[in-house]
């Protein structure tokens, strides 16, 4: 029961704290507006390059929009604790780490899905991309699964924040790598073989592919293997992230370096 309370209430409070004690307009200017301006940038870049059509960039950038809350939100759950000098208190608390961090991850994943959904709708409307209504349920599932996978990577990112102060830098690095290598803006067949192989282990890659197939008319059953792969990738990252949280927490306690990392 205690773990459930930590998961639900602790996670919700942590999520609220991400926005500077919840100024709703920050949510709009940090997450919603940039997700749309990013779509427009890449759609016009795609037109200039003549590689793919607008649909490719709307779908790709809308789905990857789920990664921004996943990566930055999870990293901030550690760095904000350090900034407010509560990280040591958190680490000495008897709370279950799994409940604690999964509780923080759940609203972040839902948040990512909401941002991605918003970007998808607004991007499609602005660029006149036609999406069949029959694909909406499948797209909703795809976005949720991708948001989960991105939050799994975010957990790894958060764990590294226990050892490395520059977690914002790492979040940016991961996000940029997803933009380049996950098939979001550059078709995988244009990438070198080694990079497209690495892409198979990234969150977003399979989710984007599934979303593109759904928009092209595939059914949810058709893209189930892709969603399964995305789910597997996310689960692996989340497990590795929780493991590293324990390892780095132990190292931080032993070296008294939690506030200094």
């Amino acid at each position: 029961m205690r773990s459930l309370r930590i998961f639900a209430i602790g996670g919700w409070l942590s999520y609220r704290a991400l926005f500077g004690w919840l100024n709703p307009y920050l949510f709009v200017i940090i997450l919603l507006v940039p997700s749309v301006t990013q779509i427009l940038f890449f759609a016009y870049l795609g037109r200039a390059a003549g590689v793919e059509d607008d649909t490719f960039y709307v779908v790709g950038n809308a789905v990857v929009a789920a990664a921004v809350p996943g990566l930055f939100g999870m990293a901030d759950t550690i760095t904000d604790e350090r900034y407010t000098h509560t990280l040591s208190l958190l680490v000495v608390s008897p709370a279950s780490r799994v409940a604690l961090f999964l509780g923080r991850a759940a609203p972040v994943a839902v948040n990512g899905a909401i941002v991605a959904g918003f970007a998808f709708v607004v991007g499609s409307l602005l660029l006149d991309v036609s999406v069949p209504a029959s694909s909406f349920p499948g797209l909703a599932v795809t976005i949720l699964v991708t948001a989960f996978a991105c939050t799994g990577l975010g957990l790894v990112n958060a764990s590294l924040g226990l050892r490395w102060r520059e977690s914002a830098l790492l979040s940016n690095m991961l996000l940029y790598f997803l933009l380049l290598a996950a098939g979001v803006n550059v078709p995988l067949d244009l990438l070198p073989g080694w990079l497209s192989t690495i892409a198979q282990g990234l969150p977003v890659t399979h989710g984007v592919e599934a979303a593109r197939e759904l928009v092209a008319g595939a059914s949810l059953a058709d893209v189930a293997p892709l969603l399964g792969a995305e789910l597997l990738v996310g689960t692996i990252y989340a497990t590795v992230g929780l493991f590293f949280v324990r390892v780095f927490e132990f190292q931080g306690r032993r070296g008294a370096s939690l506030e200094l990392a």
């Binding site: 100024n23 920050l26 301006t37 200039a48 380049l180 803006n185 550059v186 244009l190």
Partner: protein, 251 residues
């Protein structure tokens, strides 16, 4: 102002997050451009993309760091002291934003080296005097645009977040990686008020010799003066507002 510029240049040069923006933004976007444009277009497009991605890094840093500089001073309680000091606040703020954009020289060096070494795309600089003049003129103009934004940021506590808002829109409308001809026609006049548009034109024209770069350099300098005047007026307005309400530390 010169001393302030020098101190801030050194300080910002040691910030790992800023260096990341300056180095990795051109790396990633030049790579994306390389993969997207390699099919069917000439080396000039890729050379232009190298310059554009360098300016993208400078712009990203200017918007993010100008906003962060004020937020940091507010957080540590320095903002009120700086405003109350006998030195006019514009003379404090302008060197910060110009130093931030000047650190962008790393972005230019990274982008040109990266595209040369990894992709084998050399930047054939046709007019060295114009290129040497275009780089500082562009940096100065972008820095003063950062000053103009910074003046507005004084009023808003969430300035650090507002800075991010300008990243993709300016990258898009200033033709840094995307030819302006691809964009809707109404965007072109809008792009004229942004320094990166003219900086990009100046550096590209000087490097590729497509046309004279001196007129673009002149526009950069003209915009520098315009941003300076507009920023000083805006700053005066917002500072008065903040002082009257007693919200400088709280806004």
């Amino acid at each position: 102002m010169a001393m302030g510029w020098a101190i801030h240049f050194k300080q910002e040069s040691r910030n790992p997050f800023f260096l990341w923006i300056l180095i990795c933004t051109p790396l990633i976007y030049a790579t994306i451009a390389y993969f997207l444009f390699r099919g069917g277009t000439d080396e000039q497009t890729l050379a232009g993309a190298a310059i554009g991605s360098a300016l993208m890094g400078i712009w990203s840093l200017t918007t993010t760091a100008s906003a962060a500089a004020l937020a940091h001073r507010r957080r540590v309680g320095l903002l009120e002291l700086l405003v109350a000091a006998p030195v006019p606040f514009w003379a404090v703020l302008a060197p910060i934003t110009i130093a931030i954009s000047a650190v962008g020289i790393y972005s230019i060096a990274t982008s040109l080296l990266y595209t040369r070494l990894l992709f084998g795309v050399a930047l054939p600089i046709e007019n060295w005097p114009a290129f040497v003049a275009a780089v500082p003129a562009s940096i100065l103009a972008i820095g003063m645009l950062g000053f103009l934004l910074g003046a507005a940021f004084v009023r808003f506590r969430a300035a650090w977040a507002v800075g991010n808002l300008f990243e993709f829109p300016v990258w898009t409308i200033c033709g840094l990686l995307i030819p302006i001809a691809v964009l809707p026609a109404w965007i072109e006049p809008v792009s004229w008020v942004f320094a990166p548009t003219w900086g990009m034109n100046a550096m590209r024209d000087a490097a590729l010799g497509e046309s004279t770069a001196w007129d673009d350099i002149a526009v950069c300098l003209g915009l520098t003066v315009a941003y300076c005047v507009a920023g000083a007026v805006l700053l005066r307005f917002f500072l008065r507002s903040a002082l009257r309400r007693g919200t400088l530390a709280l806004t």
